[in-house]
Symmetry: C2
Subunit: 191 residues, 2 copies
């Protein structure tokens, strides 16, 4: 997670344009907001890439988003550990300590693989850990979020964002968005 | 979270049929998988309701999914505390202890409100807490997932499911789905 920590990257595997656009975008935005350093999307997910790049421009980084035309090669050649999130995997509460130890103590980069529909069997075999955030069907975005929050033990929530045009100021009630350089407040049109 | 705990319910506010179908469905499935007792969807989200009910039939409960034609009335008349998840709210790490105390120690039911696009201002005012899982734009599904995992302090991952037709057996590699009554294994066609 940034600075002196080994890399944590997210690979979105599989994307059906149209149907998966928002899920793929949310995988990317969740990766960014919850402490990953970068995301790779399949090369037919250019729209998701644009959205994530635009959010990074406005709300800050560091965060890299890229397309890949060979996710399998990326996976095979990854110089570090691979975690595949799947409802069929080992329980996250049983393996998170071991994964954290590899990542934070042993300094190994971690690639977190998030599938869409059917994930080919060799991904299960290539992964160092197949991990279930519950063994129930729910959402790859939810699974990624809980996994990152546990991998970083909540420290990702304290991140400082660089080169942001705007910063949301936490409030009990209402919305407040500031420019980091100024004391000015702007109205927001976000939901 | 089930049994002797006060209720935790999720209210999905706003739904645009077509565009929001999968996000709304994932809000419901995440609520179920991560320990909430029920979800309400807007009454134009019947398709999401069907999917969540079908998953509950197959993978077990208890979990209730319903439509509401008056989410605002439900919110106003809720007999307990209201948490509204929003990127403009107070930082989850700053308020989670207080919310957990109200819910688990004082036994107050909690209604967790998850918006889609623009949330009306009176929702911010009706909420006991406006809570940001980061003050970054990402995903309402991710925010809900991290919030529930923190509210229940991971205990939701140990849930036992009742009346399930099938149960996924956590595995290091591969997929295994069993019928809870038998020792038989069936092939899965889930992704």
């Amino acid at each position: 997670m940034h600075d002196d920590e080994p890399e944590a990257a997210v690979l979105r595997l599989g994307h059906r344009p149209g149907r998966d656009d928002r899920m793929t975008t949310h995988v990317g935005l969740t990766a960014r907001a919850l402490g990953a350093d970068r995301v790779w999307f399949p090369d037919n997910a250019g729209q998701s890439l644009e959205t994530v790049a635009d959010i990074t421009d406005r709300f800050g980084g560091p965060f890299e988003a890229d397309l890949t035309d060979s996710p399998k090669a990326l996976l095979r050649e990854w110089d570090g550990r691979v975690v595949h999130l799947t409802m069929y995997g080992e329980r996250v509460q049983d393996v998170e300590t071991e994964i954290r130890r590899a990542h934070r103590d042993d300094g190994e980069p971690v690639l977190i693989v998030v599938g869409s529909e059917k994930v080919p069997f060799d991904v299960y075999e290539l992964a160092d850990w197949n991990v279930g955030v519950t063994n129930q069907p729910h959402s790859e975005v939810a699974g990624l979020a809980v996994f990152l929050d546990r991998l970083f033990e909540g420290e990702e929530l304290e991140a400082e964002w660089e080169d942001a045009d705007r910063r949301v100021v936490p409030m009990e009630t209402g919305k407040r968005v500031e420019s980091p350089d100024e004391t000015g407040t702007e109205a927001s049109d976000d939901g």
